[in-house]
Amino acid sequence: MPSRLALKAALISLLIFAIFIGAWQLATQRKESTTLSGADAEYAALMGKGQEKTDGFPPPLKVAKAFVEYLSDPFYDKGPNDKGIGIQLAHSLGRVGLGFLLAVIIALPVGFMIGMSPLLFRALNPFIQVLKPISPLAWMPLALYSLKDSAISGIFVIFICSIWPMLINTAFGVSSVRRDWLNVARTLEVNPLRKALLVILPAAAPTILTGMRISMGIAWLVIVAAEMLVGGTGIGYFVWNEWNNLALPNVIFAVVMIGIVGMVLDLFFGWLQKLVTYRE
């Protein structure tokens, strides 16, 4: 029975979570009770009320407080270094969305052409193979220099990292459309545009969507790092800012939020994928 299985799985998940929190509590409790070593004590004294922030890894309760605090008012804006988590995430999602959309606009038509023409595929393949493994952040200096704008550079980095899986998957999906379906279209004298939209696109859609899903996953990984570099706004900047404040509960909170948003994005693309998948 699937519902009972789901119930059991949920129970085990809860148990694992409880054990994890418990272990965390135990581990941090011991740290708190230990007295500061000589140098640390001196340093603490030197820093005055630095005590509060250097007292080791935060226990779960402290992190939970951060969760409550940030989630109860996600959209406040108190100047450039103090914005609600909702605003930060919105900035990140905006960058990812824009860069991703640009990548779709380029990758789909180019992927289509490469997939249709073995000549173009061979001609472009060396470039793709060299460009694909480059870490998107390696483009950052070039982007900053030539675009002269940190916000646009961030979007460019997202664009460049999400274009490759989409391009390759689109080309692969288009080139491996079943011969039979193309032959049907040929015997029906279907014009090229109609063939592309009604035969090749739906046939390749599951593969293309898989590429998009991978791209979105990478883009969400990269945006955090990119925003740490670029600064200003976004969840990546938030993490870096809170690290500079040594506010570890906030960092943990942000890390969890990154995970949750990434999961939601993946679920969304998984749902899209299901929509276009056909059973043979």
Binding site: R178, D180, W181, N183, V184, R186, T187, L188, E189, V190, R194, L198, V199, P202, A203, A205, V276, Y278, R279, E280
Partner: protein, 309 residues
């Protein structure tokens, strides 16, 4: 100029070998013709190029030499004048049954309204007994039903000629039987011209007016043309009561088992004229039931009744 609806002359096909060498031709010197309303089956062992011939007629493949002329025009590419039923049904799995047929109909008559297309498609799908399954996806259909959709799709564009590439090859015997009966009914009602590949001797006798027998490849040729002399209103249930049936069947099986090899060789060429392959009527009474096998050293084709035309 020939007066036949479809004439194939000197057709040959050579597939390029690796490294620039040339393979022997799969088939060569293929001559045959089909008249309007005729049902012609082609039988031969694998590798004799039956599917290639069909693809050339469909315009999906180019022959290495020779011509195929249909209705006074050279076949130089795919055309809506020729409907194809593919061996693997080739339905688009993301479209419904109706959508698959409508895609073809819309290609044929782009100006038709949606309702007119739907009506037209429904009529053809009802003809193959699928009036209840319009909205279903191909994945929800059995193999036989899928092939029926393929047949409906090919008929719905009202082509001048229908090309069937072993359409029932993947079906079980029972399903095959019922679809064969349906095909007979539809073909008789529409007077459709049909060219069909089959491996099944019984299927050929049941459906065809003429059966082209191909010798083995490479250098495959049309060895004989067998005329099925039984009346055309045949049914699966009654056909085997006709004394002609077994005579024709024996002739075909004997060809496939014993004689298909010898036409490929050089020795047969002396007596065999590929332009006018012998037309035989093994079904007619007064003929021996079983033709003797061709002796290997004397390569004279055994023919009971030869009408060169």
């Amino acid at each position: 100029m020939s007066t036949h609806f479809l004439s194939v002359e000197r057709l040959s096909k050579i597939y390029p070998a690796e490294g620039g060498k040339t393979n022997p031709p799969v088939f060569e010197d293929i001559h045959f013709h089909i008249d309007k309303g005729e049902f012609v089956c082609i039988i031969g062992h694998s590798g004799c190029g039956k599917t290639t011939i069909l693809n050339v007629l469909a315009g999906l493949e180019e022959a290495s030499g020779g011509d195929a002329i249909m209705d006074g025009r050279e076949i130089s590419g795919p055309s809506l004048d020729r409907g194809v039923v593919f061996q693997s049904h080739a339905l688009m799995p993301w479209m419904s049954v109706l959508g698959n047929v409508a895609f073809a109909v819309k290609s044929r008559w782009p100006d038709w309204s949606k309702t007119r297309i739907a009506e037209h498609c429904t009529a053809y799908l009802e003809m193959v007994g699928l009036g209840e399954s319009l909205a279903r996806k191909p994945a929800e259909l059995s193999g036989g039903m899928k092939q029926r959709v393929g047949i409906a799709r090919a008929f719905a564009i009202q082509p001048k000629m229908l090309l069937l590439d072993e359409p029932f090859g993947a079906l079980d015997a029972l399903t095959r039987g019922t679809i064969q009966d349906e095909l007979i009914k539809i073909v008789q009602a529409t007077h459709q011209t049909v060219f069909m590949i089959t491996h099944d001797v019984d299927e050929a006798i049941l459906l065809a007016d003429k059966i082209l027998l191909m010798s083995n490849g490479p250098h495959a040729k049309i060895a004989e043309i067998v005329e099925v002399t039984m009346p055309r209103s045949r049914t699966r249930a009654e056909i085997h009561h006709d004394p002609q049936y077994y005579r024709i069947r024996n002739h075909l099986v004997d060809f496939l088992v014993n004689r298909s090899k010898s036409y490929a060789g050089v020795e047969a060429e002396a007596t065999h004229d590929p332009k006018n392959p012998p037309l035989v009527r093994p079904g007619l009474a007064g003929e021996p039931d079983r033709p003797v096998a061709l002796p290997a050293d004397k390569a004279v084709p055994y023919l009971k009744q030869v009408i060169n035309h």
